[in-house]
């Protein structure tokens, strides 16, 4: 895998970094789409929907790309099952979907459903229904032996279950009657069996498995604001990775989401709930590649992967919980360590235990923030199959692509088949500079390599080193025409770059929306950045995205 990835990093036609990468002022509203057509603009309210009174936006060129119906991915399914059953239970059969990544990705348009998924979802529904009836005694008080004793009781239980499962603020009588009629149509002697079958039908229903937003609008723009119910569903999957709990639904039903302050408080409440840990872990593992530490090339990194993972988890939890500046993602002098990890890093472990706690590095230590964390460094290590490219290129590209959102294209045709003469007596840096020296490569590698070189004081298991193969590692370079002598100075440059918060908004918004943020979202991104002010903070960023027009409106396709 790495070999191909690396090949993708031998690049040509790399765009002008300064001109297009996001190193620019954020307020760049315009009146046309990239294609030059007039923008539609204008938001209408559907029947049953709500008007959302946002603060004045600096950018009014609002275009929303269509959001495709979103099937629950594996994580969302498991989290939702736990919410519905109000327990730690989830149907084990859903694990068999780990056979394929297809269906677990976040982008709705890429989540596909094939033949075997139907079987798995149905089997999962059977397991959930069985758990509810057999173990949780669902609606047991409505029965007398095998017969129904209290019809109203059955209906109430079904209504509550449908509300949580389908994410409904109130269950229309037509929907309830659908399922109740199905229940009565079954001819089991033991009606508990009929109830279990009805629950299988509920859990197999597309209104559970698919996050459908079915209200229509007649507006020419095709854009409408979402109903409270739809907002609740989006927020819940964004912040919790699950459907809303019974309590959350009840709370939402009592609120008026058209009031921004109300909605803001509601979002903060959700963020304060431990279920929002899902967001923290998803941000760091998927956005920042930390999940790849599971497949790190270094055996030592594999051994330490849970420590690396925890270091980053606590770091990101801190950024969000304490509303730290977004720039601290890349620029800080602290991290979260325990004794074992501190010893591995070679820093003073006195006073540390097996528990993770904040650790402030002194000035001579090159650590602090994501770029010097084991999860990031080890996840992007490569095997010895690639001694000449190694992790330097992978790390450099990852910083550019994932943290600064610098657009980097594919390598040029034939670039990887060109033979280059290498002097084996040279340092690794010199070899890499030689390998990437062809004109077709250097336009992008002039950006990639310095970052990779700056990180080369850390080996594949994130241990600090001064030398490699008997030669002193040269970590100096320049970035955005600013020279740096080591990683500490590079972190400072990155920390001051407006591309970092802009990229963070792009990435988190794309996750929240379950689709790629595209040029149509430029205005939405700029408005979020404007609201975040001069020094964007992480928790604010998550909240502002939740309150953004992109999240609270929908464009029909």
């Amino acid at each position: 895998m790495y070999l191909l990835i690396i090949s993708a990093f031998l690049l040509s036609g790399c765009v002008d970094f300064l001109g297009q990468s996001g190193f620019r002022a954020s307020n760049t509203a315009g009146g046309t789409t990239p294609e030059g057509t007039t923008t539609p603009g204008g938001i209408t309210t559907p029947v049953g929907g709500t008007e959302v009174s946002n603060v004045p936006e600096l950018c009014t060129d609002l275009i929303i790309s269509p959001k495709v119906i979103h099937r629950l991915n594996r994580d969302e399914y498991i989290n939702s099952a736990r919410i519905i059953t109000e327990s730690s239970f989830y149907p084990a059969v859903i694990d068999s979907m780990t056979e394929s990544s297809f269906g677990f990705i976040n982008y709705a348009s890429n989540i596909t459903t094939n033949d075997i998924h139907g079987s798995i979802f149905f089997a999962a529904a059977e397991q959930m229904a069985s758990h509810m009836v057999q173990n949780k005694n669902f609606a047991a008080s409505c029965f007398n032996g095998q017969s129904v004793q209290d019809v109203a009781c059955i209906k109430q239980n079904l209504s509550d279950l449908i509300s949580t499962t389908f994410r409904l603020l109130s269950v229309p009588s037509s929907v309830l009657n659908e399922f109740y009629n199905f229940f009565t149509s079954l001819t089991d002697v033991n009606k508990k069996n009929s109830l279990e079958s009805t629950l299988v039908a509920v859990f197999s229903d597309p209104r559970f498995l698919y996050r459908a937003e079915t209200a229509q609008t007649n507006a020419a723009s095709g854009v409408r604001s979402l109903s409270s119910q739809e907002i609740l569903s989006r927020l819940s999957y964004y912040l919790w990775g699950s459907g809303p709990s019974k309590e959350l639904i009840a709370r939402a039903a009592s609120l008026n989401f058209s009031s921004e302050s109300t909605l803001r408080s509601f979002v903060v409440e959700m963020l304060n709930d431990p279920k929002s840990d899902y967001l923290v872990e998803t941000l760091m593992t998927r956005w920042l590649n930390i999940a790849r530490v599971d497949t790190a090339a270094s055996a030592e990194a594999q051994r330490l992967r849970s420590l690396f993972f925890n270091e980053s988890k606590y770091y990101f939890k801190n950024l969000i919980a304490n509303n730290r500046p977004v720039s601290e993602m890349v620029d800080s002098k602290y991290s979260f360590l325990n004794k074992e990890l501190a010893e591995h890093y070679g820093v003073n472990s006195a006073g540390l235990s097996s528990e993770f706690s904040r650790y402030d590095f002194d000035g001579s230590q090159k650590r602090g923030a994501l770029l010097a964390q084991g999860s990031f460094l080890a996840a992007l290590g490569t095997t010895d199959m690639e001694p000449h490219m190694s992790h330097i290129v992978v790390r450099g590209v990852s910083v550019l692509r994932d943290i600064t959102c610098t657009p980097i294209g594919d390598p040029p045709d034939g670039a990887t088949d060109t033979e280059i003469e290498i002097d084996e007596s040279k340092s690794k840096r010199e070899k890499i500079e030689a390998v990437t020296s062809p004109a077709a490569c250097i336009s992008c590698h002039s950006l990639i390599n310095p970052i990779g070189f700056a990180l080369d004081n850390f080996d594949l298991s994130a241990k600090y080193r001064e030398n490699y193969e008997g030669k002193t590692i040269d970590v100096s370079g320049s970035f955005v025409k600013t020279a740096f002598s080591d990683l500490g100075e590079l972190k400072t440059i990155l920390g001051k770059s407006p591309s970092i918060p802009k990229c963070a908004v792009d990435k988190v918004l794309s996750f929240a929306m379950g689709r790629q943020v595209d040029a149509n979202d430029r205005c939405a991104v700029d408005n979020i950045l404007n609201r975040l002010g001069e020094e964007p903070k992480f928790r604010d960023l998550i909240v502002e995205i939740a309150l953004s027009n992109a999240m609270l409106t929908k464009k029909e396709d």
Partner: protein
């Protein structure tokens, strides 16, 4: 000291001891002593027409495929020579455009160049067109199984789409131009989904029947709800929901067919075990296909040995990655794809490709031997089928140049009741495209391609018709 290297190059290969001995038995026990019992087949369908695609990625270690044809395939040639065709000078659809050598997987059965964006081209693949013709009334129209694939989930979240085209190396079959049939890569899951209910002991049939009837009631109800919701959605959303509808329809058909079988069962073998090597998994997959054919669950299938790219190092609890690196061959330093980059300068890499080619062919021969036992009244199933066996890449070492696109290692086994000529061991096609061969398959199966944008423009290979 100076040396010449390629930018992606490497000269160091890991040498590690064999994790698994080469004597590990492949495949599952051959349980069936009886002739097949086609549970779902209609009367008179003694030996139905079938179509199978067995595909491996990345081509071979030499441009002319002599080792593959003369050594790796020797056993098949010896046993099934009269039904075997080798094709030479057949190009894939990318030719003459330079491309990644990992992309061709996605167009292996479409004959259409897909250059990185799923919706920019492609069509329903040849296996699906044939399935509509010969397998539409079977419980499952077609099944798609595979080996290790490349994980892409982290690449496709958070706007990271740059590796998107690698996605295409994971599948060969297309339900529509935008909807691939992703192969099931866990044999135990595939067995449970497709075969388990066919082999229930008779003592449990009464209970099974009641269970199936209940299941069918629920499925019918859910299907009606899916259709109702679909009516409320926009066009793109309807397409996504269609996938679920199709998936549930397929399940409902399987259940209905089980009920109609009235308690008759079809021996399906044992559930495949976990922790299989790539070749053990391929054998297990082909065993599932054998049983699916035997029980007439379906008449069309595809099976990929691995994806075209290869995965990362496996983790102990990740079944589907565990077999990623041909560890049983003693090659743990990289994926097959990684080794393909070494072929021009590493004997070790060449040897890996040779051994993979031989073992692939052995697995296929195991299937052919078993499949042949489904003969009825002296008619071999190979005489009523076509099995396409090959790779969409030519010379494995080629990257981003035409050598990967030309002279594909392609063969067929079977003659489809005389509608497809066989026994040609070197049919030179002079640079024609894969879609021309596909067009020949379609002609042999009698598929109307007048409405198909890709295949209607192809020219069938007349030598085989």
């Amino acid at each position: 000291m100076k040396s010449k290297i390629k930018p992606m190059g490497s000269r160091r290969l890991h040498r590690r001891s064999f994790l698994r001995g080469s004597g590990v038995a492949l495949g599952l026990p051959f349980l069936e002593a009886m002739l097949p019992r086609n549970v779902f087949s209609a009367p008179g369908d003694a030996v139905p027409e079938r179509f199978l695609v067995v595909n491996w990625s990345l081509g071979t270690h030499e441009g002319n495929h002599n080792h593959w044809r003369n050594t790796a395939m020797a056993g098949i040639k010896s046993a099934y020579g009269t039904k075997l065709n080798f094709y030479d000078y057949l190009n894939n659809a990318h030719y003459p455009d330079p491309h990644w050598h990992t992309l061709p997987e996605a167009q292996f059965l479409t004959g259409y160049s897909i250059q990185g964006v799923r919706n920019d081209g492609g069509t329903k693949s040849v296996d699906q067109l044939i399935a509509e013709k010969i397998s539409a009334s079977n419980p499952v129209e077609s099944i798609h199984l595979g080996g290790q694939y490349r994980h892409i989930n982290h690449d496709e979240d958070f706007g990271r789409r740059v590796y998107r085209n690698l996605n295409y190396s994971n599948h060969v079959s297309w339900k529509s131009k935008s909807l691939p049939n992703y192969p099931i890569t866990n044999p135990a899951s595939a067995f449970t989904s497709y075969l388990a209910s066919l082999g229930v002991p008779s003592s449990e049939q009464i209970q099974l029947s009641a269970t199936l009837q209940r299941k069918k009631s629920i499925l019918d109800y859910v299907l009606s709800n899916i259709k109702r919701l679909k009516a409320d959605l926009g066009s793109e959303d309807r397409q996504k929901l269609d996938e679920y509808l199709t998936s549930f329809n397929s399940l409902e058909r399987k259940v209905a067919a089980s009920i109609e079988s009235n308690g008759e069962t079809c021996a399906v073998g044992a559930v495949p075990s976990n922790n299989l090597t790539i070749h053990e998994q391929a054998a297990a997959n082909l065993d599932i296909i054998y049983h699916a054919f035997k029980c007439d669950l379906t008449r069309v299938a595809t099976m990929m040995f691995t994806s075209g790219v290869g995965g990362a190092a496996p983790r102990d609890d990740q079944l589907d990655r565990r077999t990623a690196q041909y560890g049983n061959f003693g090659f743990n330093g990289g994926t097959l794809h990684a080794y393909s980059h070494q072929i021009s300068r590493s004997n070790e890499a060449k040897n890996l490709f040779k051994r993979v080619a031989v073992e692939n062919a052995n697995v296929l021969k195991g299937f052919l031997d078993k499949f042949s036992t489904l003969a009825v009244d002296g008619v071999s199933p190979l005489d009523k089928s076509i099995i396409l066996y090959g790779s969409p890449a030519g010379y494995a070492s080629a990257h981003q140049n035409n050598a990967a696109s030309v002279r594909l290692p392609i063969s067929t086994i079977g003659n489809l009741g005389g509608k497809f000529k066989s026994g040609m061991h070197n049919l030179s096609l002079g640079g024609r495209q894969l879609k021309d061969l596909h067009r020949s398959f379609l002609a042999a199966y009698g598929v109307d391609v007048s409405q198909n944008a890709i295949f209607r423009t192809a020219n069938p290979v007349t030598q085989v018709l």
